[in-house]
Amino acid sequence: MRFRFAGIVSLGVLIASSAAFGTSPALKPFERGTWQSVLRGHAGRPVLVHFWGVTCGPCKVELPLLGQFAKDHPDVDVVTVSADLVPNLPAATQSMLDKAGLSSTENFIFNDGFVERLRFEIDPAWQGDIPRTMLITRDGTITTIEGSAEIADLEKWSAQQLSKH
C-alpha cells in the first residue's frame, strides 16, 4: 500500500514536473548505439521506425497521416526519429509531432554532430534522404521504404504482422 502510495506520489511529481517544464514526453536523444537499443527494446513486436525532419516538405505531409496510423494501430510500436542534420531543433520537432498526433509515441531526435556515423549504424547505404520508414517484423526482418510511405502499404504490412501472430 505504501509502495502504491509512493508510486502515485512519484507519478504525480513526474506529471507535475512535466507540466512545469511545459513539455510533452521529452524527445529522446538519438546517439551512438541508440539504434541497437531501439531494436533490442522492441524485439518480438512489429515496429515502424519513421525518419523525418522539420525542413523536409514531404515529411510535413506524411507526419499527420502517420499520427493517424499510430492511433489506429496500437499493436504496432511506432517510433519516430527526427533525422534532419544538426543543428536539429527540439522545439520545432516536438511542435510538429504534437500537431501530427504523435506526442505519445517514442520520439527521438538526432543528437550527434557526426551524422554520417549515426546513419551508418542504421543503414550503411543511407545517405540522409528523408522521409524514410523502416518496418521491422517480430522476427527482426527490416523492410525500408524510401520517401513518403503509402498508408495503404503500411496497413497491409500491419495486417500481415497481426495475421502471423
Binding site: A6, S10, P29, L85, N111, P124
Partner: protein, 403 residues
C-alpha cells in the same frame, strides 16, 4: 518499501530532469565551436582572385565572414564580418555561402537564411569593392517573399555575375488554382555591375527537386549551364542540365541519365558540374534509382544533348557521397567522400583524356568527425582540395598531379 518508492520518485524526477536538460542544452553541434571564426565554421567556400589571392567565405556562429590568404591557405587575413547580427543561416546539408571574385578584385557573395519557422528561405547577396575590407548592406536577390534556397553564383568572362536558385513562389498560385505543386522552380537572374544589383528574377523551369544544391558553370561566354535534380514524369528525381542561350534566356531541359529514382523525399544531395576549356560538360551526381544506385560521373561533348554512360564512383560499401568535379590545369579532377564506420576520407581521381578514362582513386585526406563537402578550387596553375572539418579545422591541400 516507502524508501524504495521515494528513491524511485527521486530517480524518476532526476532522470526526467536530466533528459530534459539534455535536450534543452545546446544541441550537439556539427561545429567545433560557436564563434564566428574559421575554426568554428561548418561550411567554407573558396575562390581564387585574379592575382592569385585565395578568398574564403564561411558560416560560423550564425554569421558569414570572409578572409583572404596569400600563402595558399596557411594563414588568413583578419576576417571581415559580412553579417553584423546572428542570423538563422540555412544549415541544410547542401547549403553554403557562395563567392565569386572578378577581374577587378570585386567580390560578390550570396547565401541563404531561414526567414521563418516554417524554414522558408531567403537568398541574400552583397558585394565588396574595397578588397574585402567591407561589404555592402545585405539585400534579397528577389523581392518575392516566398521561399528561395540553394543559390549558385558564376562569373562570366565579361564580369557578369549569373545567379540561379530554387524558388517556391509558384506554389501559392498552384494552390489557389487547386493544382498539385511539386518541388520548386529553378529561377535565375544576372548582374552586369559585378553583383551590386541584379535583374528581375525569371523562371527557367518549374518542377525541380527542392532540396539539392545546383551546379553552375559557363558553357561559353554569355551561356550559363545549370545542373539540377529535376522531377520527371511520375515523380522521378533524376538529373538534368539546362544551357542558357544567354544570361536572360533559358534553354531546354536535357536529361543526363535515366536512373529512375522515383521518390517523394528530400535527397539533400545535389550534383556537380564543370565545363572544360574545349566545351565538354563533366557532371557527377548521386542517385538511388531503380536503374543504378550510388555516385556517378558522365560527360557530354554536345552541350548536354547526349551523355556518356554513367560511370560508378567509389566503393559501394563505404557510402560514397558529395561528388565534386573540376576542370583543372592538370586535367579533370574529381573528389568525393567515403565513410568506413569511423572515419570519413576524401577520394580523388584524375582524367587526362577529357573524361574518357580515370586513374584509380586515391585517399587524399581523412577526418574522424563530421565534415563539410569536399570542394576543388584552382588558381589556373594548381588545383586544391578545400575541406572544412570539425576535428581538424580548415584545410587547403594542393593536389599532386600523379595520384
Amino acid at each position: 518499501m516507502i524508501r524504495t518508492g521515494l528513491l524511485g520518485m527521486v530517480a524518476c524526477v532526476l532522470l526526467q530532469s536530466a533528459a530534459l536538460a539534455q535536450m534543452r542544452a545546446p544541441q550537439v553541434s556539427e561545429a567545433a565551436c560557436e564563434e564566428p571564426t574559421l575554426r568554428c565554421a561548418t561550411k567554407a567556400t573558396p575562390a581564387f582572385g585574379p592575382d592569385g589571392t585565395l578568398w574564403l567565405v564561411w558560416m560560423a556562429g550564425g554569421r558569414v565572414s570572409v578572409a583572404s590568404s596569400q600563402d595558399a591557405g596557411r594563414s588568413f587575413s583578419v576576417p571581415t564580418q559580412v553579417t553584423t547580427t546572428r542570423l538563422n543561416l540555412d544549415w541544410g546539408p547542401d547549403a553554403r555561402p557562395k563567392i565569386v571574385v572578378d577581374r577587378k578584385g570585386g567580390i560578390a557573395l550570396a547565401f541563404s537564411t531561414f526567414r521563418d519557422e516554417a524554414f522558408n528561405g531567403q537568398v541574400l547577396y552583397t558585394r565588396s569593392i574595397d578588397g574585402g575590407k567591407s561589404f555592402a548592406e545585405l539585400k534579397p536577390i528577389t523581392a518575392n517573399n516566398e521561399s528561395q534556397r540553394f543559390e549558385a553564383l558564376a562569373l562570366d568572362q565579361d564580369g557578369t555575375v549569373f545567379a540561379a536558385w530554387l524558388d517556391k513562389r509558384n506554389r501559392i498560385l498552384a494552390k489557389e488554382a487547386g493544382q498539385k505543386y511539386e518541388g520548386a522552380g529553378l529561377f535565375f537572374t544576372s548582374s552586369d555591375d559585378g553583383g551590386t544589383t541584379y535583374a528581375e528574377a525569371k523562371l527557367a523551369r518549374e518542377g525541380t527537386c527542392e532540396c539539392c544544391r545546383l551546379g553552375l558553370a559557363f558553357a561559353a561566354p554569355g551561356r550559363p549551364v545549370v545542373i539540377f535534380r529535376n522531377i520527371f514524369e511520375g515523380g522521378v528525381r533524376d538529373h538534368a542540365v539546362m544551357t542558357f542561350a544567354d544570361v536572360a534566356t533559358p534553354g531546354e531541359v536535357r536529361r543526363i541519365s535515366v536512373d529512375d529514382w522515383q521518390i517523394n523525399a528530400c535527397p539533400h544531395h545535389g550534383p556537380s558540374l564543370t565545363v572544360a576549356p574545349n566545351g565538354t560538360y563533366h557532371v557527377a551526381w548521386y542517385t538511388n534509382g531503380k536503374a543504378r544506385k550510388g555516385l556517378f560521373y558522365a560527360h557530354s561533348r554536345d552541350e548536354g544533348r547526349t551523355f556518356s554512360a554513367p560511370m560508378a564512383l567509389g566503393q559501394p560499401g563505404r557510402n560514397p557521397t558529395r561528388p565534386f568535379v573540376l576542370a583543372g590545369p592538370a586535367g579533370m579532377m574529381m573528389v568525393w567522400k567515403e565513410f568506413d564506420g569511423e572515419k570519413t576520407s576524401v577520394q580523388m581521381t584524375v582524367s587526362r583524356d577529357d573524361g574518357e578514362t580515370w586513374l584509380p582513386p586515391k585517399t587524399i585526406a581523412s577526418t574522424s568527425d563530421t565534415s563539410d563537402h569536399p570542394l576543388l578550387v584552382s588558381n589556373g596553375k594548381q588545383t586544391y582540395l578545400s575541406w572544412m572539418t570539425k576535428a581538424d579545422g580548415y584545410r587547403l591541400t594542393a593536389i599532386e598531379d600523379q595520384p
